[in-house]
């Protein structure tokens, strides 16, 4: 317990079972405010489940999740989002029948304070219009603004996913494998985009591409079989014997 600023995200002995199967088995994690933190680990280790537990998609079976020192475990996702945490999904999860423009706009209506307003013309909100246009420019979809999201290419949908996640201006951003399935060039663009959009925010990212992880992250945690087996700077992780054995060794082979 440090008396100074609490970590942006803290998980305290978090557990999650599906039926009799315990998937998250006493997970401890601490991400400092402003840090870029990557979670790596083999498929099925529980990375996405961890995101689900932090973002309120599911409640932990036991343990505690804190956002800026306040307990958020058990809260519904929209309340966690309103407290400044936003996440993306590993499988693209957008509003398929709505245009790209509408997708991004819906993602920032709450934080711009328009909420459930049924007395304002949504097309005449200068703040909303400017921010939407800015984000579309940022994610490189300005020319595709009118296209239904369901008709975008895969890489475009992933960019939109990041746009929706960051549009509301949340202080803490969770990205679940944002570059999965992308070509080398697309990955580079996506990483540059992530860097830009999460400037000055806290980032927790799940990523399989090791060059992305070691290039982007300030700290790395290794999740294996529902537990963090190591957490440290990229150099510490690279040189950690347990990590090499459990995970990186497999990769190198």
């Amino acid at each position: 317990m440090t008396p100074s600023a609490p970590p942006a995200i803290a998980l305290d002995d978090v557990r999650k079972s599906f039926g009799r199967l315990e998937i998250i088995r006493g997970l401890n994690l601490s991400v400092a405010a402003g840090e870029r933190h990557a979670i790596i680990g083999p498929n099925g280790a529980g990375k996405s489940t961890t995101f689900n537990l932090i973002s309120g998609y599911m409640a932990p079976t036991s343990g505690e999740v804190r956002l800026d020192g306040q307990v958020i475990s058990g809260l519904p996702p929209f309340q966690i989002n309103r407290r400044g945490l936003s996440r993306s999904f590993q499988v693209t999860n957008v509003f398929a029948h709505m245009s790209v423009w509408e997708n991004v706009r819906c993602a920032l209506l709450w934080t711009t304070g328009h909420r459930y307003a049924f007395w304002k013309n949504v097309d005449r909100l200068p703040d909303v219009r400017e921010r939407t246009a800015m984000i579309l420019e940022d994610i490189g979809l300005a020319a595709r603004a009118e296209v239904p999201a369901g008709l975008l290419t895969y890489a475009e949908q992933r960019a939109l996913e990041i746009g929706i996640t960051t549009a509301g201006g949340a202080k803490v951003i969770l990205l679940d494998e944002p570059t999965a399935g992308m070509s080398h060039a697309e990955t580079e663009r996506a990483v540059a985009l992530i860097r830009r959009l999460t400037e000055g925010r806290t980032l927790l990212i799940v990523e399989h591409d090791m060059s992305v992880v070691f290039g982007l992250a300030d700290r790395i945690s290794v999740l294996v079989y529902g537990q963090i087996i190591a957490s440290g700077t990229p150099d510490q992780i690279r040189n950690d014997a347990r990590v090499q054995e459990a995970y990186l060794g497999v990769e190198a082979a």
Partner: protein, 433 residues
């Protein structure tokens, strides 16, 4: 495919869109003013009044189904309660001589719909999908059966009557003649149309679409889908109540049929046949369904069966409804590719008509044989007289259906090919929608 033509077309098309937009509303007002002059018989005025009421009701239903993705089987509850409250309000106002004129009464019906939607909707809007649909059905049954128990309010089988001419008279309007009722309905239809359209263009309206598309993701951008659905439900109740009140004013009665599942079905029918994906869809559907139900019920004793068939046909072949069907042709029209498709339609029309004629003939023959014992066995259809007892009639029906079907199938394949070709050209020219 490049996106440049699209970007270039954007600036001038915005001005054109604005012109089209205000032009459309002016056209609506013009039609409302011209209709009673062009067709001034009492029957026509009643038909138009019923269409207006149906338009409001179907649009209110589409706030749920088309905008927010909630399939309700009990929307008539709010229509009916609006109607009953309107009847009681008319009686109370007339008896107490309050200075409340008739045009205000639909507002009372609307408030009734709103309040009951707020009370009954909280639990059901927690979920969408099957749970919501089932609860809506349960609530509808509950209210419909209460209507038969609480006789003092609902008037039992007979319903409750009112006299709309006994209210405070503004500008000397008695609201006895149907033409005055027509204008009352038209004015409320216009108000409701504008209000419900405006609603789709608000932050709330857009979040309704988001909840419809992906209720899960909505939660991760700060919204509680339950609240979005609840507000949508309240608005739907409000406008349904207005429609019910107008109906009560028109007929000067409210009875349990107002609340029933059949009335709920009317909204679902109209919205779906017209097209739930476009604002204008339920308007088209409501006008068509009202017209058909008046015309068909005169022509055939089994007109509801035809309704069912039309509904099935729309679900199977045009899930976007009539409006969706029309909208699919927009890129062709813009790219100047309509001709080959139109030609294909013209070719497909005669065999399709033959097939339908055969079907109708078959249905009517069967109906005469099984139901219409008191009916004359000779029936008159399309200007011909046929003896339904003779095997010849049966053979004709079967032949028409089969030949029509065989030819129609070929011609519709041709339509599909012509459409695809035209669409390919339109896409190449950059017209996506």
């Amino acid at each position: 495919m490049s996106s440049t033509p699209f970007a270039l077309a954007a600036a001038p098309s915005r001005r054109r869109d604005a012109l089209q937009f205000y032009g459309a509303w002016l056209a609506v007002i013009a039609v409302m003013l011209i209709l009673p002059r062009a067709f001034s018989s009492g029957g026509a005025l009643t038909t138009f009044s019923l269409m207006g009421i149906s338009v409001i009701f179907a649009l209110s239903y589409n706030i749920l189904l088309g905008q927010t993705g909630m399939l309700s089987f009990g929307h008539a509850v709010y229509y009916g309660l609006g109607g009953f409250l309107a009847v009681h309000a008319m009686n109370a106002i007339g008896a107490a001589k309050w200075p409340v004129p008739l045009p205000v009464v639909p507002l009372i019906g609307g408030l009734a719909g709103l309040v009951f939607a707020l009370i009954l909707g909280w639990v059901s809007t927690r979920r969408s999908g099957t749970a919501f649909a089932m609860i809506s059905l349960g609530v509808a049954e509950l209210v419909a059966s209460s209507a038969l128990i609480l006789r003092s309010f609902f008037g039992g089988e007979a319903g409750v009557t009112a006299n709309r001419t006994k209210l405070f008279k503004l500008f000397g309007l008695s609201f006895g003649p149907q033409i005055q009722i027509y204008y009352l309905v038209a004015a409320w239809t216009l108000i409701a149309l504008i209000a419900m359209y405006a609603l789709t263009r608000t932050p709330f309206g857009r979040m309704c679409n988001a909840v419809r598309d992906n209720p899960e993701r909505v939660q991760f951008v700060g919204y509680d889908p339950h609240i979005v659905r609840y507000i949508a439900f309240a608005f739907a109740g409000l406008f349904a109540g207005i429609a019910g009140a107008l109906s009560a004013i028109n007929f000067e009665i409210a009875n349990s049929a107002y609340l029933g599942t059949q009335q709920s079905g009317v909204a679902l029918f109209a919205a779906y046949i017209g097209g739930i994906g476009v604002f204008i869809g339920p308007v088209i559907g409501a006008i068509l369904v009202t017209y058909l139900s008046l015309v068909l019920s005169d022509l055939s004793s089994v007109w509801q069966l035809y309704f069912g068939l039309i509904f099935i046909a729309v679900v199977a072949f045009a899930p976007g409804g009539i409006a969706g069907l029309l909208l699919r042709h927009r890129p062709l029209l813009r790219a100047g590719q309509m001709w080959p498709v139109l030609r294909a339609y013209v070719v497909a029309a005669p065999p399709t008509a033959v097939m339908l004629a055969g079907l109708v003939l078959g249905i009517e023959i069967v109906v005469r044989h099984t139901v219409g014992t008191s009916d004359d066995p000779v029936m008159h259809l399309f200007g011909y007289s046929l003896d339904t007892g003779s095997p010849l009639s049966w053979a004709i029906a079967a032949l028409l259906t089969l030949v029509g079907f065989t030819l129609a199938r070929l011609t519709w394949k041709h339509v599909a090919r012509a459409f695809d070709d035209a669409m390919t050209v339109a896409r190449a020219k950059g017209y996506l929608a």
